[in-house]
C-alpha cells in the first residue's frame, strides 16, 4: 500500500514538474517574441517548411475528406429524403471542423515531428550549446521563428484545405451523386456564414501555435542518443495531436454554444 502511494506520488510530482517546465518554456518563448534580434532568414525558411511544403499533404487529405463526407451525408440524408443538404453540410463541416482539425493533425504529424527531430538532434550534437556560446539565444533563434511561421501559415493551410475539401465534395457530388453543378455550388456558398470561415481560421492559428510549441519543447528537452530523438519526436506528435483535439472542443464550445 505504501509502495503504491509512493509510486502515485512520484508520478504526480513528475507530471507537475513536466507541466511547470512547459509553462516556463512557453513564458520564455512569448517573452522573446517582441524583443530583438529577429532572425528573418530562419523565419522565412520556417514559412516555407511549415506552410508551403505542407500544402500537398493538407490538400490531398482535404480533397478525400470532402469527397467521403459528401458520400456519407448523401447516404445518411437519403434515409429521410434530405439528399439536397449535401453541399451545405459538406461546406459547413469542412470549414468549421474537418478542415481545421484534419489540417492541424496532418501538419502536426509532418511539422511537429520534424521540428522535434531537428532540434533534438541539435541538442544531442551540442549545436544548441554552441548557439549559446556564440551569444545567440536558442529560444530566439530556433523557437520564435517557427512559432510565428506556424501561427501565420496554419490558418492559411486551413483556408486552402477548406476550399479543396469543398471541391472534393463538389467533384463527388457532381460526378457520382448526380447533382447539378451550379446548384451544388450555390448551395455550398449560400448556407455558409462569415463566422463559420473565421472560426476555422482562428482554430488554425491556435493549432499552429500548439504544433510549433510542442515540436520545439520536446526537441529542446531531448535526451541523448537515437532513442532520445525518437522519444522526443513521438512525444511531440502525440501531445500536439491530443492538444489540437482538446483545444478544438473548447474553441468549438466557445464559438458556437452561446
Amino acid at each position: 500500500m505504501i509502495g503504491l502511494t509512493a509510486q502515485t506520488g512520484r508520478i504526480f510530482l513528475t507530471f507537475c514538474s513536466f507541466i511547470g517546465e512547459l509553462i516556463i518554456f512557453c513564458v520564455r518563448v512569448f517573452a522573446n517574441i517582441l524583443t530583438p534580434p529577429f532572425y528573418m532568414r530562419a523565419f522565412f525558411s520556417s514559412l516555407i517548411h511549415i506552410g508551403w511544403l505542407s500544402l500537398p499533404v493538407v490538400g490531398i487529405t482535404a480533397f478525400f475528406t470532402g469527397g467521403a463526407l459528401a458520400l456519407q451525408i448523401y447516404a445518411g440524408g437519403a434515409r429521410f429524403n434530405a439528399e439536397e443538404v449535401v453541399p451545405s453540410i459538406v461546406a459547413i463541416g469542412m470549414v468549421r471542423e474537418l478542415g481545421p482539425v484534419l489540417g492541424g493533425l496532418m501538419v502536426a504529424a509532418r511539422v511537429a515531428s520534424s521540428i522535434a527531430a531537428e532540434i533534438g538532434t541539435m541538442k544531442v550534437t551540442e549545436q544548441i550549446d554552441a548557439l549559446s556560446t556564440l551569444s545567440t539565444d536558442p529560444i530566439k533563434y530556433l523557437v520564435v521563428p517557427r512559432l510565428i511561421a506556424a501561427f501565420l501559415t496554419v490558418p492559411l493551410l486551413v483556408g486552402v484545405g477548406d476550399s479543396i475539401g469543398i471541391l472534393g465534395g463538389y467533384v463527388v457530388g457532381v460526378t457520382q451523386l448526380e447533382f447539378n453543378n451550379t446548384i451544388y455550388l450555390i448551395n455550398s456558398i449560400n448556407y455558409l456564414e462569415l463566422w463559420d470561415i473565421l472560426s476555422g481560421l482562428v482554430k488554425g492559428a491556435v493549432f499552429g501555435c500548439i504544433i510549433a510549441l510542442m515540436g520545439c519543447f520536446f526537441g529542446m528537452r531531448c535526451e541523448k542518443g537515437a532513442r532520445g530523438v525518437g522519444q522526443a519526436t513521438k512525444s511531440a506528435v502525440v501531445s500536439a495531436s491530443v492538444l489540437i483535439l482538446a483545444a478544438n472542443y473548447f474553441l468549438t464550445e466557445a464559438f458556437f454554444t452561446s
Partner: protein
C-alpha cells in the same frame, strides 16, 4: 584570467564536482585531464555558463559566466566542441562567420564571408570548401572548421573539449599543432579537456588532474612525469592497477 573557486555541482544524488579550485593565468594554456566520468565536461559547461554550479565562484576575466553579464563575456570566448557542433543547415562559411552574421558584431554578408575564408585558410582549409555543408566534410575537416569558428572573432579565451577525439593520430597531431600555434599567435588564455596524453604534451603550459570531483594535482607540463600523485601516475601509465577503479 580564469578563476574557479570551490565549485560544487550535483545532478540529483550524483555529486560530480566537489570543490574544484583552478586558476589559469592570461595567455597560458591549461589542460585538464582525468578519467571518464570525473566531471571534466561539467567543469567546462560551468565555465561557459551552460550549467550553473550549486555553489562556488567562477570568473572569466573578472565576469561570472552565470550572471546577467554572461553575453558580454561569451562574446570574448571561443569554444571547440568535441563533435564540432557545426550547424548542419548552414554552409561552412556561415558556420565560421556565425557571430558576424547573427551576433552583436553583425556586418554585411560579403565582409563576413571574406573573414570566414581567411579563418578557414588559417586552419588549413581551402576557399573551395566554404560553400560545402558540414556533412560533406571528414571528421578532421569538421574539427578545423569548428576551430576556425572558435577563433573567428578574436577571442580572449578559448575552450577546447576533447579536440582530438575520433581523429587518426596524424590528424590529431595536426589539430594539436594548430591549437598550439593559434594559442601562441593570438595570445589567448586556453583551457582544454582531454584524455589524450599526446595532446597534453603538445598543447599544455600547465596541467590539472581531476579525479573524484576535485583537482588532485596541478603543475607545469615538465612536472607531469615527475609527480608522485598516485592517481596521476596510474592515469599517465594507463594502468588498470591502482587507486582509480575501472568500473565507471
Amino acid at each position: 584570467m580564469i578563476d574557479v573557486s570551490n565549485v560544487y555541482k550535483s545532478f540529483g544524488q550524483n555529486h560530480v564536482l566537489k570543490g574544484v579550485n583552478l586558476k589559469v593565468h592570461d595567455g597560458k594554456s591549461m589542460v585538464i585531464i582525468g578519467a571518464s566520468g570525473q566531471g571534466k565536461s561539467v567543469i567546462l559547461k560551468c565555465l561557459l555558463g551552460l550549467t550553473k554550479p550549486n555553489s562556488g565562484k567562477i570568473l572569466l576575466n573578472g565576469v561570472d559566466p552565470n550572471s546577467a553579464q554572461k553575453n558580454i563575456i561569451l562574446s570574448k570566448v571561443g569554444m571547440l566542441f568535441q563533435g564540432g557542433a557545426l550547424f548542419d543547415s548552414l554552409p561552412i562559411w556561415q558556420n565560421v562567420a556565425f557571430r558576424y552574421l547573427h551576433g552583436k558584431q553583425k556586418i554585411n554578408a560579403s565582409e563576413a564571408r571574406k573573414i570566414a575564408i581567411k579563418k578557414l585558410e588559417r586552419v588549413g582549409l581551402e576557399k573551395s570548401f566554404a560553400d560545402n555543408f558540414p556533412s560533406q566534410l571528414s571528421g578532421g575537416m569538421q574539427k578545423r572548421v569548428a576551430l576556425a569558428r572558435a577563433i573567428a572573432t578574436q577571442p580572449e579565451i578559448i575552450f577546447f573539449d576533447e579536440p582530438t577525439t575520433g581523429l587518426d593520430p596524424i590528424m590529431a597531431q595536426v589539430i594539436n599543432n594548430l591549437i598550439r600555434e593559434l594559442v601562441v599567435e593570438l595570445g589567448v588564455t586556453a583551457v582544454t579537456i582531454t584524455h589524450d596524453i599526446q595532446s597534453v604534451r603538445s598543447i599544455a603550459d600547465e596541467v590539472a588532474f581531476l579525479h573524484n570531483g576535485v583537482i588532485q594535482w596541478t603543475g607545469y607540463l615538465n612536472q607531469l612525469d615527475k609527480s608522485n600523485n598516485k592517481y596521476l601516475k596510474q592515469f599517465m601509465a594507463g594502468s588498470t592497477d591502482g587507486p582509480i577503479g575501472t568500473l565507471r
